[in-house]
Symmetry: C2
DNA sequence: TTGTGGCAGTAACAAAGGTTACATTTCGAA
DNA sequence: TTCGAAATGTAACCTTTGTTACTGCCACAA
């Protein structure tokens, strides 16, 4: 685990902190599609992402869903941070977008390190900043963009995260994450295909140029 | 200023910290409608709200606007925190919703206090948590609610912030903050009036029961 | 091989929200 | 007092998005 840590976090944390994380953290591997946190769960440890990607989703009372953002290598979950500190229930759902490796750190440590390590404080604050920025981008999308533009952004984002021009999603799955209906997505995807920007297959979409 | 501080922050900060804030902070009064921060500004100090209310707005490239949330007594601006630390430009606009009194703390101090005072750390983290939560609520509204429901929420919120059943806004102003058009707001307000939930006047709206 | 369930294509229609246009009212400044 | 700008009311129409319904297609298991 120490190697994993050094590879991904040595530019952020001093050796003493890396050592501590190595001592108290536990390595966790999850498969694509696995659920990490459900809305209402209490959170007892904080994830540091080594590899893979996690998607963070919001859901309303009717079960309508919305993709908020992705976490990647070197990230942590800002929601978790506050849940830990405040002993509050999770407001979001976290699912593995890809096969993912993370280090789980017990919550007591995170407070202790806040006083002890400047690099840890910066990391935590930086994480908050990134998450707030991503929330702003999400708000921009749903407030200012039409569904066709949101869809294009979604596909671009997905490509960036998976590093693959083939997106393995059904229209229904995309519709859930954008909180719309399958028919709408099919309609817009077909339009993009007619423009030559994507190619449609069963269970997958190939990005030509977006 | 020390009295202001003690009245509003003594339950959060230890005496030594209150003392420090008192030494380095400057009192600032702004009038309703004053602009505090514009998008693109560099932020050099951090506000602690003593009284009044600040509204935080987002704008896109076309000048379309959206109200994100309000800051009240005891709050600080999480955006500012990260802007300060990262030396980044502001992503948002801040306007005084009411006459407001705040204490401005220079940014160098905030880092110093992070290491020195546990109560400061908790305050900063707590602020982030509240802001993230409010961003989530904003997302819920625009993603899951129709305009009529968003309008009702907006009016309720406004009432809560101003502690007044009379809302002094034009339809155009409301339309800006909800990123829609004046005609749409007039239409929906008239519907609410017909339901007996509000009463409409020139430049103001009286809330009967929402 | 055949049936079954999930996936995608598409048409027709409905609803919400945005746009344009114009009339009326109100208020403050000249 | 009068004029003009700003605020509001309202109709007609358009666009976007959501809904319903039905089709064919594909993959897999019985």
């Amino acid at each position: 685990m120490l190697n994993n840590l050094k590879d991904n976090f040595s530019h952020l944390f001093e050796d003493a902190l890396l050592e501590e994380i190595n001592n108290v953290g536990t390595l966790k591997e999850v498969k694509e599609g696995d659920k990490l946190i459900e809305i209402g769960d209490y959170v007892r440890s904080m994830p540091l992402l080594i590899s893979g990607a996690i998607k963070i989703l919001r859901e309303d009372d009717n079960g309508d869903e919305l993709l908020l953002y992705f976490l990647e290598r070197g990230d942590t979950c800002a929601m978790t941070l506050t849940c830990c500190l405040g002993q509050k229930k999770s407001e979001i759902r976290a699912m593995a977008e890809l096969d993912t490796i993370l280090i789980m750190v017990p919550i007591q440590k995170m407070e202790e390190w806040m006083g002890k390590y400047k690099s840890w404080r910066n990391f935590v604050l930086q994480s908050y900043h990134e998450r707030l920025t991503e929330m702003l981008e999400t708000i921009d999308s749903i407030a200012f963009l039409n569904m066709d533009e949101r869809l294009v952004k979604y596909l671009q984002n997905k490509q960036k995260i998976t590093k693959d021009t083939i997106i393995n999603s059904t229209h229904q799955e995309i519709a859930y994450e954008l909180n719309t209906s399958r028919v709408v997505i099919s309609r817009l995807l077909k339009k993009l295909e007619n423009l030559g920007e994507i190619e449609l297959f069963r269970n997958s979409i190939k990005i030509i140029s977006l």
